[in-house]
């Protein structure tokens, strides 16, 4: 039914723009140290390519890493964690080359994958015992506290855990060794809303310490919208934007108008258009400038989900 058209396929969100909010953001990036820096990361598979992607995860923030299934989120995270060989580019974690992290550095990173990666016939007590002998900074008390808080059974083996329980256990592990950086790949996907809420609360608690950073990949945008400070959007192996969530929402707007009104609007303002039988929905960038120029239109607030949808569909079209 709906038809989405982007009139501007050059959606330059990262560099070369002159609006003030972006300049402010650039300053913030250079002033604070980044927990993760990715420069020109390249990785080719037969049917998929990560295309020279670059973005930073500022320390002390939650970075939401969004994109549809197969966009390259997991590949990027695997590259960050040195689980795949990269074809080019550089990645640094907490100031060190990601390919040569010392064990001390690795001990400060908590990782949660989609799925538990733990052996089926172990229970949480066994896990504690194993991790105590792997992480030099393992805190048994913190782990046990999380196990209680998250209502995980001590004696039940992981095979009998539900998906939600497995994710909670992985998160408890990631948080029990004084991690400074959490890297989570689809940690909230496939969970019921109650568990997701519970897990998101734990992340918010973790980020209370200003030294701590989270990179959270998800295709559930509402989760990102709830907790992320920054959003990086990956689409077909390309980074479309990597920005402050508030800036994104502040700078963009949606206007509902008749189809013929679209022709009046300067195409530089238009990110994407969704047409339907009632008229058109237009996603506008530089909302304030637009409002000053076009008094006749009423621009409404937009969401990350809407921005992503219109940007990605628009890009596919052109």
């Amino acid at each position: 039914m709906s038809d989405i058209i982007s009139l501007n396929d050059q959606y330059k969100m990262k560099s070369g723009r002159s609006d003030t909010s972006n300049e402010v953001r650039e300053n913030v990036f250079t002033d604070c140290k980044d927990a993760i820096v990715i420069k020109n990361l390249r990785k080719s598979y037969k049917d998929f390519t990560l295309n020279n992607i670059s973005f930073n995860v500022p320390r002390g923030t939650i970075m939401g890493f969004v994109g549809e299934n197969g966009a390259g989120k997991t590949t990027t995270i695997k590259a960050i964690l040195d689980l795949i060989r990269i074809d080019g580019g550089e990645i640094s974690i907490l100031g060190s080359n990601a390919r040569m992290l010392s064990n001390e550095m690795k001990a400060q990173i908590g990782v949660v994958f989609d799925g538990s990666n733990l052996h089926d016939n172990m229970n949480s007590k066994n896990i504690n015992y194993v991790m105590k002998n792997i992480y030099p900074n393992w805190e048994e008390q913190i782990f046990n506290r999380y196990i209680k808080k998250l209502q995980l059974p001590e004696k039940k083996i992981i095979k009998e855990y539900s998906r939600g329980m497995k994710m909670k256990l992985s998160i408890a592990i990631a948080l029990s060794h004084h991690s400074k950086l959490l890297i989570l790949d689809e940690a909230t996907s496939g969970l019921d809303p109650m568990v997701r809420e519970e897990i998101l609360d734990i992340f918010l608690e973790f980020i209370q310490n200003e030294e701590n950073t989270i990179l959270l990949s998800s295709h559930i945008i509402s989760d990102i919208e709830k907790i992320a400070d920054y959003v990086t959007f990956i689409h077909q192996g390309n980074i479309i934007f990597s920005e402050s969530k508030d800036d994104l929402i502040y700078r963009h707007g949606v206007l509902h108008c008749r189809r013929e009104d679209v022709a009046v609007i300067d195409s530089n303002f238009i990110v994407g258009i969704r047409e339907n039988s009632f008229g058109a929905e237009v996603l506008i960038r530089n909302k304030d400038d637009f409002k000053r120029r076009y008094h006749q239109f009423n621009v409404e607030k937009t969401s990350i989900e809407e921005i992503m949808l219109l940007v990605s569909r628009g890009k596919e079209r052109f």
Binding site: K78, I84, A107, V111, F113, N117, L118, V130, N133
Partner: protein
């Protein structure tokens, strides 16, 4: 590393019951047949199979990709696996020997020296087998490497079978010099076997490590 070894032993815990039953079963069979070396060999082999189980458990859990994100190096992970293989083979051999010793004391079966010899040779064969198999498992995973195991097992048998056939047919004549050489080497088996095993292990570990370093998870 300690954590990795502990992880493996916890994973093997569920095999304890089966092992208890098998001990009784083979022990009884060995006792009634009057030959303790049968039991010793079986046990070394049984423990050897556990190494394969450990690889499958790790694969099923997709553990390795997770472990690499922990404060463990790729070298440590490969070392942990080789160490477990040697440990399990050693435990198997010791277990087999203890049984043989028990049989010797209670029923006067086989000599102790003979038992040590058969357990030692059993362990050497197992380690040699794994030295060939582990790089393949590291590269392909347990499932895909199965065909390779089959080949590793079958090729020596096939070669011996063919040589035997040729000799019987009179096409292949073994020279006296060769028989002499074999007899000569046999006297030094106590040195040759450990040297060959260590050499195979070293080469195998180096290859596996190299494969593991370039592996994607």
């Amino acid at each position: 590393m300690k954590g990795l070894i502990l992880k493996d032993f916890i994973n093997l815990k569920k095999n304890l019951k089966i092992f208890g039953v098998l001990t009784l079963l083979y022990g009884f069979m060995s006792y009634t047949s009057g030959d303790a070396s049968f039991f010793s060999t079986i046990f070394t082999m049984l423990f050897a199979i556990l190494t394969l189980s450990l690889y499958s458990y790790d694969e099923m859990a997709k553990w390795d990709g997770y472990a690499i994100t922990m404060p463990i190096s790729k070298e440590n992970i490969v070392q942990g696996k080789y160490l477990m293989m040697i440990l399990l083979t050693f435990i198997g051999a010791v277990f087999g020997f203890l049984f043989a010793a028990l049989m010797y004391i209670t029923a006067g079966m086989n000599s102790l020296l003979q038992s040590i010899e058969s357990c030692g040779i059993g362990a050497a064969v197992v380690i040699l087998f794994y030295s060939i198999a582990l790089p393949f498992i590291t590269k392909l995973g347990v499932e895909k490497a199965r065909l390779i195991f089959f080949a590793v097992y079958m090729i020596p048998f096939a070669i011996i079978f063919l040589i035997n056939k040729e000799i019987k047919a009179g096409k292949l004549v073994i020279s006296d010099n060769f028989v002499e050489l074999v007899n000569y080497l046999e006297r030094y088996l106590g040195i040759i076997i450990p040297v060959v095993v260590l050499l195979a292990l070293g080469i195998s570990y180096t290859i596996s490590l190299n494969i593991y370093r370039h592996k994607e998870f």
